[in-house]
Amino acid sequence: MKNRVVCYFSAAQSEQPIIYQLIKDYDLVVNILKADINPQKEGYLVVELEGKREKYKAGVDYLKSLGIHVEPLSETVVWSEEICIQCGACPSFCPTQALDLDRETMMVSFDNSKCIVCGMCLDCCPTRAIKLYFEVREAV
């Protein structure tokens, strides 16, 4: 199974080599989509976990056993058609073609289901028409 989750961790937990453990002990494919750690070493990690069902569950239980809050990632990238000027820069940076430029009409479109929340589009958009709406709470 494959899931995208948000892991919230405290300063003590950020010292743990959790990615290493998830890969080595639980045989999970780990794809880090976004991570943010503040100067107090609290933060969150948005991660895609892929592996056998029982391993996946054991891996998530391992995270929880460390006191890390694990929550599913809700749909988060929003593209505003009203703000977009159709320059067409963002598809060059989108690794999954969620943002696409139709070569006939030269119009940009966004398919949320293909988005992996890598965030490259946020930086390259000159009108800031693309925004990330994380369901991220204050670090715990």
Partner: protein, 404 residues
């Protein structure tokens, strides 16, 4: 004898609602089907369009007087400084100006979320703008401080005056280094990760009139969703450059200074932009009609993307340090397809200029002309063309403390 038309004849047809107007894209197939001679007889006007970042843009503002009066020595609009070194309550707000205390690139790459271009867009959108001004106080202008809220309608004049717009061709930016760079051409990924370009190619005004045979001082244009005029050649106008056999410059060449009343423009066509790691600027919409006075002018206006080339330039070393690194040229058909080939490597091409919007400008201008609401103006003076001896100068390196 080749068929010729005059501005007056074309305007008469526009007034009668009989003018044949097509866009710079539509004209390509028409010329291919009918041939130049027949098409030149039938077509009266070809409309062009471009919509992209144009940093050298801004607006002259007159705020009206306060009571008591003030001679403004410093002016800020939403915290963004406007140049106040003109008369008492006049100022010039530049599109690339950043707010006071903007973090700039102190945390690299900086965000540049707001700047002069955003203020111009907000003004045009009818938003309330905070106006702050200080002055040193004189007998005739005793007031030393103004802090108030204004809207566009409160201003006496708001005159968009852009010293350099509509660049005739531009570099295609690549990055030969091993780190991501943040430029006015957007994010350019390392090791030839992408190639960023910015013109509308076969739709672009000056690429359709490469020798400025019809576009000159006084040409009436679509500017920011309203009507504007070509005021002069733009800054860095450099027409005597390398050109293809079709006359189209293969590198950056001519530019336009344009002017118009901001109050009759539309916020959709003047949009503030934020380039990460670079700065703030503004996207400007410009459309220029080309009167088809003869076959030669039509042949220029029928130029195709595959016959327009731009130079591929390295922005990690080549551009910033003025090093000459030959990476060849790319044509706009390739660039618009999404991939170009450099040194045998296929590279993603990244547009900065909106083709969709350029098409909308060209078709809007076409509709205005067909409806009789936009007549063509004959230039009152030509722009310097390829035969002008214009030198592209750099800043001289001299020691102000002697030793010249």
């Amino acid at each position: 004898m080749a068929h010729q038309k005059t501005y007056e004849e074309i305007n008469e047809k526009i007034k009668r609602g009989e003018a044949v107007v097509v866009t710079a894209e539509e004209v390509i197939d028409i010329v291919a089907e009918q041939g130049l001679e027949k098409a030149a007889r039938e077509i009266d006007v070809v409309t062009t369009g471009t919509f992209g970042p144009m940093c050298s843009s801004g607006v002259f503002l007159n705020f009206g007087h306060s009571r008591p009066r003030i001679k403004m020595s410093k002016v800020w609009l939403n915290g963004v400084e406007a140049y106040a070194g003109v008369a008492a309550v006049d100022a010039y707000l530049g599109a690339a100006q950043l707010p006071e205390n903007d973090p700039e690139n102190k945390v690299y790459p900086g965000r540049f979320s707001y700047g002069g271009g955003h203020v111009i867009h907000d003004l045009l959108a009818g938003k309330e703008i905070r106006l702050e001004a200080i002055g040193y106080g004189t007998d005739c202008y005793p007031n030393k401080k103004v802090d108030t809220i204004i809207k566009l309608e409160d201003l006496n004049e708001a005159i968009l005056f852009n010293p350099r717009n509509a660049y005739q061709n531009y570099n295609c930016a690549v990055n030969l280094s091993d780190r991501t760079i943040y430029t006015y051409m957007g994010i350019v990924k390392p090791n030839l990760g992408n190639a960023s370009y910015s013109t509308s190619g076969q739709l672009s005004p000056l690429l359709n009139d490469p020798y400025y045979k019809t576009i000159g001082v006084g040409t009436r244009i679509f500017l920011g969703g309203g009507i504007g005029y070509v005021a002069w050649n733009g800054t860095q106008h450099h027409p005597n450059v390398l050109r293809g056999e079709n006359g189209v410059p293969k590198v950056g060449a001519g530019t336009l200074a344009v002017i118009g009343d901001l109050k009759q423009m539309d916020p959709n066509w003047l949009v503030g932009l934020s380039y990460i790691g670079y700065g703030a600027t503004m996207a400007v919409g410009i459309g220029i009609p080309i009167p088809i006075l003869d076959e030669e002018i039509l042949s220029f206006a029928a130029v195709k993307d595959e016959d327009i080339y731009c130079p591929i330039v390295d922005y990690s070393e080549g551009y910033p340090y003025g090093k000459s690194i030959d990476l060849g040229f790319a044509n706009f058909k390739e660039l618009k397809s999404g991939k170009i080939t450099i040194n045998g490597k296929e590279i993603i091409s990244t547009p900065q200029s909106s083709i969709y919007r350029a098409r909308r400008i060209a078709s809007t201008l076409k509709e205005w002309i067909k409806a009789g609401s936009f007549e063509l103006s004959k230039p009152v003076a030509p722009l310097p063309s390829a035969d002008a001896k214009i030198e592209f100068k750099s800043i001289p390196e001299r020691n102000p403390n002697g030793n010249r």
